[in-house]
Amino acid sequence: MSTPHVTLRGITRRFGALVANDRVTLELPPGEIHALVGENGAGKSTLMKVLFGLLQPDEGEIVVDGRNVRFADPQAAMRHGLGMVHQHFMLVDTLTVAENVTLGRETQARFGLLAPGDAEREVAALAERHRLPVDPKARISQLSVGAQQRVEILKALYRGARVLILDEPTAVLTPQEVDELFAVLRALVAEGVSIVLITHKLAEVKALASRVTVLRGGKVAGSAMVADTSIERMAELMVGHVPAPLTERSHRAPGAPLLEVQGLEVRDARHLPAVRDVSFAVRSGEIVGIAGVEGNGQHELIECLAGLCPPARGAVRIAGVAVSGHSAREHRAAGLAHIPSDRLHRGLVPDMSLAENLVLGLQRRPDIGTGPWLGGHTLEDASRARLQEYDVRPPDPRAFAGRLSGGNQQKLIAARELTQGAKAILAAHPTRGVDLGAIDFIHRRLLAERDAGRAVLLVSSELSEILALSDRILVLYEGRIVHETTPAATDERTLGLHMTGRASHTDAPLPPRNGTPHASGGLA
């Protein structure tokens, strides 16, 4: 099957009063990588859902090889050679790679019986041909995230996809896995496959794509050949103005330790050690970043430091008070603020108002309530100023938290956690999945807290964030701190090697990378 030339022409899609796509046009010639960039909510996902038959456009047309087509469902899109790699993988964990790839188009013997041997051979051959190494007999739950993504790509190729849509494919990968993915994508393009790369990491666009289309507020803000544009220009189109760089941090000596961890061991849900013998201290006026591939103990470390699960061994002190084994409330009372990694489950109650969310956990404070009663109107009045200060939109104390965008929800949590006079701040993935404006706001707030003399522990899987904010960086690998460094002394590639346990302990200088500039997140 040859690769079709796909054109989206004048696509408009509305959700009620909201125009998610406003007369968007996108050209996909065969054998090209077309990057689709824009902030969250700019309309990238809507456009791709229209292209993949998950949504119907209100206006506009999809043209494949000069013919007008309508994709009633994803199957129709697949029949025209389109395939999608979802950001949240659509894989069945308990099944094997071969079963996942062939699901819905199983290799069959007679009477509806499966032919697992045939499926494994076919998937192995497909994987070989496209240089996507993966064991067809392995169960998905045993695979790394990078390998799972290869299975998703194989799924599309098995169905004859010649146009691949990849939705934020690098968000969950280590820098090394990103390199591997890019090599695979380049090889596919060399075979004539065309690729739509949805991303907000502009360095990736520069490294990989030949064309770029920038969406802003549902409209095409610009479209160009990548060679003719710059990261700065794309960033400007994305946000509508030139983003100011983060302010130069003040250099000041950190003060007394406010968050101390000594010989900490934390068990996971299966009672296996997830954090092993971890010791560190975060001092006043210091941001310490914890880098690591997700699943290397960050989650358990955060839960333990927040007082949500007791350590199996070791001690935690907040502002000098020993709190290990105590409740989350006692951790807070000792001076801890916590921006949790999952804003909808741990950070907010989506069905409660902004004012109520702002006092969660503070109900014992006399200015907020007496006995079982909350303050009512005074609460709403008191919250209005804070909503404005933290730029939560809309700043309406009675609005439901669940109705806010991700960025505004995260600012709401910051407004609650950073205004209680805490001494130590635990910020877990504080900008995950939020728009650039909110990222910038939260970064500035965290730096301001640092400058005000608080101790900030930043856990993030975004290395650009770790490098931009941290005074010191600790790398967590298989539950241990395997490396300590500073942003000035390292880069993403070196950190990535430590994060995957592949670095030697001597820190020998790395050979220069061949060819492409190197992918980094963010714009700073």
Binding site: L91, D93, L95, L103, G104, F111, L113, L114
Partner: protein, 300 residues
Amino acid sequence: MDVLLFAAAAVRISVPYALAAMGASLSERGGVVCIALEGLMLNGALAYTLGAHATQNPWIGVLCALLAGLATAWLHAEATVRFRADQITTGLGINLLAAGLTRFVLVRVFHSSSNSPRVPGLPEWRIPGVADLPGVGELLSSPLVLITLALVVLVHGLLFRTVFGLRLRSIGERPEAAATLGISVARYRFAGVLLCGLMAGLAGAYLSSEQHSFTDGMTGGRGYIALAAMIVGKWNPVGAAAACLLFGAAEALQIKLQGSAFPSELLQALPYVITMLALAGFIGRAVAPRAVGTPYDPES
């Protein structure tokens, strides 16, 4: 021969459990909780009695039981799959409905609130050489015992060796993944629940065929024990059948010990104790299909 007789009694007791538990494994592997087993069995048992009574042909009774199981399961599927109702609530509703409906029919048709008149049971299938085996010959001449033994193999094969089974399992784990590949979540979930209805209906037929009558509330909680067996068997048909055999042996032992000093309540509690141990992770890990109990909403 005492051991063989005891084993035969255990198997005899475990047949209805095994049929219902294997049916439930199909329903739950597709993502629909089947706490309605009790009601499905009860309706099946009554339908067998009505059919066998009206025609004096026990096989017509079996056919009626299958249809009753199917119809009751269809109600469960319609509510939980099409209208995305809570699966536990719907299942409990079906159990209550069946308890009331069967008593109502019992009174209206047989003018008794406790039991039906005697109806014919299934005739023996005497297999030469097998029927005369000491101890187990009689057992292995019972059609539904033989059918159940065959179904253990067939249902396991259906779930793990066929295209249907693979798709059903994928839908119980990750329905949105199957849906993006063009597999109809609703159709497969319906199929799983309906197959469960057929098997639970057959279990009901076995109960009233063995007893040659229907008595009010005759399932006596067997549906819940079968559900427990399915959990202990880790949602595998073979495992579920094996757990049923264990529960059947406990029940046979309890009957044997009746009148002795040993407190039979302890043995009666055994299925539930084992189930709790299994759920708590002491007997391997019992992990439910990930999407079980969650209605699939393609919009979200």
